[in-house]
Symmetry: C3
Subunit: 346 residues, 3 copies
């Protein structure tokens, strides 16, 4: 499947700058590229890293002009590079295989057209699955759940009773949707589980990462708005209402009954306390601990989370603190000396 650089330029409809006859045997990012590979540089800052790279050629967007290495210019560098990678490592087509005889599908479940159900998946009573769903092995769908069209559930995903999943949703391996909320009434020091009568409703085009858990609501739903993307090992507690087109990075934890607006971004390991509201388009820095409502269009970080500008001032002051402490002691001494002198003078 080896090509020459001219073939690559043709494959992606790009403009060649260099010798069309250079042989290209693979494609890899700058860090990994070996002799004979084509690589990509999607930002001008990467151009200087190319000098240390053994790649035979580089794919670039119009705003990057590398020095001393043949290049191919394209308008969408990532889509084009993906095409090249797929040429060298073609993805085996998995044929739709229908419903495996080794899957366990309740007779009362309803499956749409072109649904694939792998061995060992279980689909409970009164579950509806839309057209084109792919249900991997070990997926457990408990009774009464509703799955939209073109949904992919990767291996060992668990949907508890009455979970509702929109269209084109992707849920990665081991994610658990609809487990009981962590709500207890404590009577005489003993904790009694609260009602678990709600469910989880996941909007269209949501993606949920591996090992993530989203708990059911107490009386009504916990909801995830359409287009929201959730990374691995995230925890979303009971009764939360997550807006649309959020990005929630890995290991974020959101406590019960909190809400987010649309287009909110949370970096990794952020924690949100219960019953707070995060406004539209707000961005929370990594590891932030949010204790109060945050208005729309804000940028916060730290614990307790405060606006970026404020937090940066505090951190700057903090890093000067040991020095300031020394200077403070010197100043105390200086004032004491002054005071003494003045007393002597008096």
């Amino acid at each position: 499947m080896d090509l020459v650089l001219g073939d690559i330029a043709n494959l992606v409809g790009g403009q060649l700058n260099g010798d069309a006859g250079i042989p290209i045997s693979g494609a890899a990012i700058i860090r990994d590229a070996d002799a004979g590979d084509i690589t990509l540089a999607d930002k001008p800052q990467l151009a200087n890293k190319l000098s240390d790279c053994r790649a035979a050629a580089v794919l670039v967007p119009p705003e990057v002009t590398p020095d001393g290495v043949p290049f191919v210019t394209v308008s969408n560098v990532h889509a084009s590079f993906a095409k090249i990678v797929q040429h060298f490592r073609p993805h085996a087509d998995i044929q739709p295989s229908g419903v495996s005889a080794a899957a366990h599908v309740s007779p009362t479940a309803q499956l749409g057209r072109n649904v694939v159900v792998h061995p060992t998946a279980t689909i409970g009573e009164d579950v509806h699955v839309g057209d084109g769903a792919i249900i991997h092995p070990g997926v457990q769908i408990l009774p009464g759940s509703r799955i939209g069209n073109d949904v992919t559930l990767f291996p060992n995903v668990v949907l508890y009773e009455s979970t509702v999943i929109g269209n084109r949703v992707i849920i990665h391996a081991g994610a658990v949707i609809g487990a009981y909320g962590f709500g207890y009434d404590t009577i005489d020091g003993k904790h009694r589980l609260s009602a678990q009568l709600g469910n989880v409703i996941v909007g269209d085009d949501v993606e949920i990462g591996a090992g993530t858990t989203i708990d059911r609501g107490t009386y009504g739903p916990t909801t995830i708005g359409e287009g929201t993307k959730i990374d691995n090992l995230v925890m979303i507690a009971h009764n939360c209402r997550i807006g649309r087109h959020n990005l929630l990075c890995s290991q974020v934890g959101i406590a019960g009954s909190s809400t987010t607006g649309d287009c909110v971004v949370m970096a990794g390991q952020v924690g949100i306390r219960d019953h707070v509201d995060i406004g539209d388009r707000t961005v929370l820095g990594a590891k932030s601990g949010v204790m109060n409502n945050i208005p729309a269009d804000s940028s916060y970080f730290g614990t307790p989370a405060t606006p970026d500008r404020e937090q940066l001032l505090k951190q700057a002051a903090w890093s000067k603190l040991p020095e300031m402490r020394k200077q403070f002691k010197a100043l105390q001494k200086q004032v004491a000396d002054l005071s003494e002198k003045l007393n002597e003078a008096a």
Copy 2:
């Protein structure tokens, strides 16, 4: 299944204040309630939120008297509201179905009465399961484990060899009990796994959240005391001894050989280092990082965790730090001026 408000009052044995003939078509929390719904307000502070709510009526405890909306007063508002929700969305009764022929139960395993084992669950050699257990699909119980009465293991729970589970325990989907402890001897820079001869012992009435992991002890057990409730994605390391009636919120991590007393509460994302002891009834704030033993009846937060009062003083000082830094520079200048004046005067 629509009712009128008088039916609702009868259903929960409550005292009606308003028109008994108002039709009620559903039940939802204030945030979600629509016209025709009954909602609930369990605290006086919620009374003012009712004015923005479209609910036709509200369920309240005796200490709440809402204005301008019909209400039903009951002594236990949550139990009563659960009853109403269940009237409108009755939970399908899952019939005990016995041991599925598609489950994989070792001939040497012993199962109690009225045990339900779903398809694809596996139960290993010499496992004992008590009466009334519900073993969901994809649960894997490794050899030699002991399960008490009336236990529920949700889908894809894994119990490693020789795990001991008390009565009335609930373990949520994907939790892993008894994996190897993270203990290594490092010899010439290479890490060699330590002994993994212990197990995990879980007391009566414990509940364990989705995706939580509890590692086995090195030589003896890791133990979870009776009545303790553990949220999702919590990590409890090898040799830990967790007391009774603890509440461990989501994403808490407790390192090896640490212990907690009874009735300890840890908020989300708390981390506890190895070999520390947390006293009875101690409360740890969200994201705390605990580096040392903490006495009983304490309230700590922050990293390193210190008593609340101390931490609040530090945080208050910290938030004034940028201002103090400015004032400090001004004071330095003032003292320098004074000093100069004094020298001139001399």
Copy 3:
């Protein structure tokens, strides 16, 4: 299976100090040891804990000489204690059972010699599994993966397409290797998933904890270097390159494209931002938040992470901050008084 202390000394080839006829009925760590047990004290600091311990005897290394309790001295106290524990609680030998008829193995998969595949495991098209592998129930190996020799995959592990696993690797229950990276192009406020053409490559002798997730690379591999040990609920994002012989403790999160050198240690709940490089042999304290590259042979902690020495100074200054704030106000007043006096004098 009861022994006398002389038998124990013989069993581990140790030197007996005390009465050889003392009966020994079990083995447990100091915290758990009961009358009749032998315990172990591997450090001199533990010697004083022995006085509160009911153990009948203690196993020690040469540098520990306990007082008032019979002891057996050995050169490798942990290996010897493990031998004693195994005498009292022998581990049931699990016979290699071959490939279960209730496993789902693709006809195009290739399995080595002495491979054990438990019921409900699935092995996809064109998967190669080396000799001596143990594939527990509920393990899902997707097409095109390559597994080395003597690998153990505990229950419900998921390997996505084209995962590569080295020799002698142990992966604990519920870990997910090769899920999609969390990379999106945001166009008009909507997030479009980036290419997912890479895979995960795990080196020889790696161990991966329960519930841990490692995402596939965008175009090429995410790699875990040989001998690296990863604890439970760790997240390693797409395109990371983790070095050899690292120790990554529980709940660590490493964002996309970051790299570590060899022999790096991260304590629990550390977070690493994307695209940073951590040098060889660097140690990161618990809960650190790393925002920038860190050189080799460093010891950092805090958020943002800074060198230990610096961080300790800052934390010391911080804990004095409330006191300093009081003193600062006193000093301001003193200077104001001085200034007034001086003006009066003038």
